[in-house]
Subunit: 423 residues, 2 copies
């Protein structure tokens, strides 16, 4: 029997779990529908690199009936983990990554592995953007964002060393949640730069990603029904980077600000402190130093088989001395304190998730510059979908909260998402 | 032609590199001698689980001629990485772990994989203690400590989540260096608890381990010739844990204190602050929570095939809630600040490396309680060898320095080692 939940363009975590709880659908119904959609649409979207067997999916647990896409840098025991790289063709791990094991333990249905740029770096993949034809879905978690945006899966796992969760979520017009550093375990996820790599999640809406994260981690992350924005203070973060954002994105930020004020929210400008400007600059040295060590054997033995953007990062990283790395780490540490201090005056910050909508074509996954600051500081960031350019390309707005206040980031982001949806 | 360097009971990093630089031996001489010793002695010591091909060893680079043993939780592309576990029998990684790749890039000779307790936990292995017959070499880095103590290798890689570098170094009477958290990359090293796991090094003496670490990392860690202890202040760290140390260890600590004072060093008592007592208690919850996630698939799918001590840690870890984990992490964070504050008044701290010498027999790898505090806080710790019980069993003394001041920890430890050697 067909159900309205399964007729929606996108599969919503909350709607699915409510329908299953109400007995109107079964986990198996959702899993079959997910697979049907993948079979029908993925030849065009190219979100998946490999599909799992639908027969053995769990039918009980708090996430039973939630079809999940797994970025192909997370180990899976039942499917190869190829990391978008010729170097890992056919590579078969013996056990699941921590996050994959957690999802399965909760009953989630792992539908397959999703396309990632090589080793979660910058060389584009073939995945298309279901929300913006002819444009990149962003990266490096390209397939994970696309499989949710296309309505194939209700949730997906990604990772972010620069902007690889927030950016594709913004470009594809879905919710992306980059939690506080190490809220989600990265064990069994391929390392690029260990002090930056952060596992993250995608879902259709902020409420969906929050509920999924809650059930996955047993943390109180679901949006409280009574949460109310009015009377709160939201800071609008301004940095030098903003000078080059596109007019459509500048307009989106101003729109959100106006609507927040209409809703009784106090808004203030927050200028980037010098310490965070410095911290932003330090990202390159930290990523360079750590990635050349994390991938030293791959680079030395098989560098010639790597994509040009990945190889360039690793080649340049060799020039970062331990002294330069230590200076960069110090800047990052000072930046983290400065980031914390920002939240003494505001409940959350709002900033662009990217410079504009997804760029045209597939030659680049877009510019990660804006988001990488918050990857470095470790603050939770939620991409709020719902706004778009005049042509209809999604524009993403980031909500950033204090380190460890992930539930707060999600609740404020969900309120802004509702505000947008209700206009 | 035989050389005096290769006639020593233990292979010294510094002596080897000096002899190679002087042209009196070649890297190949050392590698062949290392292999000869392994072939002659490892049937008794059981340090190695697998040996590599000697034919292809590098003959140039700043660590050429340094034979190294690799704890079998570090990935190696040319040998299986079995982690002391039936679950990983025959497991063959595609690329080397970061630290292994760094060692090879510097010209070090990877002689083989060394015995580790299962997944670097507490279930003992068959390795014997070359410095204390009939006694455990300690764990979890049992084979790495033993291969250096037996004179098979000049250096070895280990790891520490509780006390798995400092304790075996102490029990085997060699130098062990647990650097500041994440000074050495842990990429490609099996994770047990990500906020605790620390890669560490073994060598015959403190000067040897410092020189090896220097050349491995390109950091200025070699002991400066002009380094002088006199006029400095060394704190003797006292906690509740000390109430149960054995008389031989209490005597060793008092001996070091007297000799330091004779050498013009100011010594003071440093009582464990409340915050560090709390931090010590938090280790169990952090390790429990993280290990049950890091090893979730292994535990769920194959728990019945695990050793009883490992399985017990994972079973109990399931009871640690996210709330309890967050409380423990907060205690750890406060503890790290308290640990830093200790070094405003002292140049370094001295504490026992274990409760006494290696316990008799092979049923346990010894008690990790003393050292795990400094694993949690991330401070650098160096085990200083040279003292012994009346029966001749090694007693290890730890030198602890401020986070990030690894060169300082090594220099002070080397001075104390010299002080001991000269009495």
């Amino acid at each position: 029997m067909s159900s309205s939940v399964l007729d929606q363009r996108r599969l919503g975590v909350r709607a699915i779990l409510e329908a299953i709880a109400a007995g109107s659908i079964t986990p198996g119904d959702v899993i079959r529908e997910s697979r049907r959609r993948i079979d029908a649409g993925d030849a065009e979207v190219k979100a998946f690199t490999r599909l799992s067997q639908v027969a053995d999916m769990p039918d009980r647990g708090p996430l039973a009936g939630i079809p999940v896409g797994i970025k192909d840098i997370f180990d899976t025991a039942d499917m190869p983990t190829e990391m978008g790289s010729a170097l890992y063709r056919g590579h078969q791990p013996r056990f699941d990554a921590a996050l994959v094991a957690m999802a399965r333990a909760k009953g989630a249905a792992v539908m397959g592995k999703t396309a990632t740029t090589e080793l979660a770096s910058l060389d584009p993949v073939e995945t298309t953007n279901p929300s913006a034809p002819g444009r990149t879905p962003g990266g490096s978690s390209s397939g994970s964002a696309a499989c949710v945006a296309a309505g194939f899966c209700a949730a997906a796992f990604g990772s972010q060393t620069g902007a690889s969760v927030v950016r594709p979520a913004a470009f594809c017009g879905i919710a992306g949640f980059k939690p506080s550093y190490r809220l989600l375990p990265t064990v069994g996820m391929k390392t690029f730069a260990w002090s930056l790599d952060t596992a993250g999640l995608f879902a259709a809406s902020v409420a969906d990603v929050a509920l999924f994260a809650d059930r996955l981690t047993d943390r109180a992350l679901t949006i409280p029904a009574e949460f109310d924005l009015s009377g709160r203070t939201i800071g609008f973060y301004r940095s030098k980077v903003d000078e080059t954002i596109e007019p459509s994105m500048a307009g989106a930020i101003e729109t959100v600000r106006r609507w927040l004020e209409d809703a009784g929210v106090r808004t203030v400008d927050v200028a980037e402190p010098g310490a965070l400007h410095e911290a932003r600059q330090s990202h390159t040295a930290i990523q360079g130093y750590e990635s050349t060590r994390a991938l030293m054997h791959e680079h030395r033995a098989e560098g010639a088989r790597m994509g040009p953007k990945l190889k360039a990062i690793l080649d340049e990283g060799l020039d970062v001395t331990p002294e330069a790395y230590d200076i960069a780490r110090r800047a990052a540490r000072i930046g983290r304190k400065a980031a914390n201090a920002l939240f003494e005056d505001v409940d959350a910050l709002v900033a662009p998730s990217a410079f504009g909508p997804a760029p045209e074509g597939f030659g680049s996954t877009g510019d990660p510059t804006i988001s990488k600051l918050w990857t470095l500081t470790g603050n939770p960031v939620v991409n709020v979908p719902g706004l778009a350019t005049d042509a209809g390309w999604p524009l993403g707005v980031s909500v950033i909260a204090r380190f460890g206040r992930d539930s707060h980031a999600l609740a404020i982001a969900a309120s802004i998402e509702r505000l947008i949806a209700n206009r």
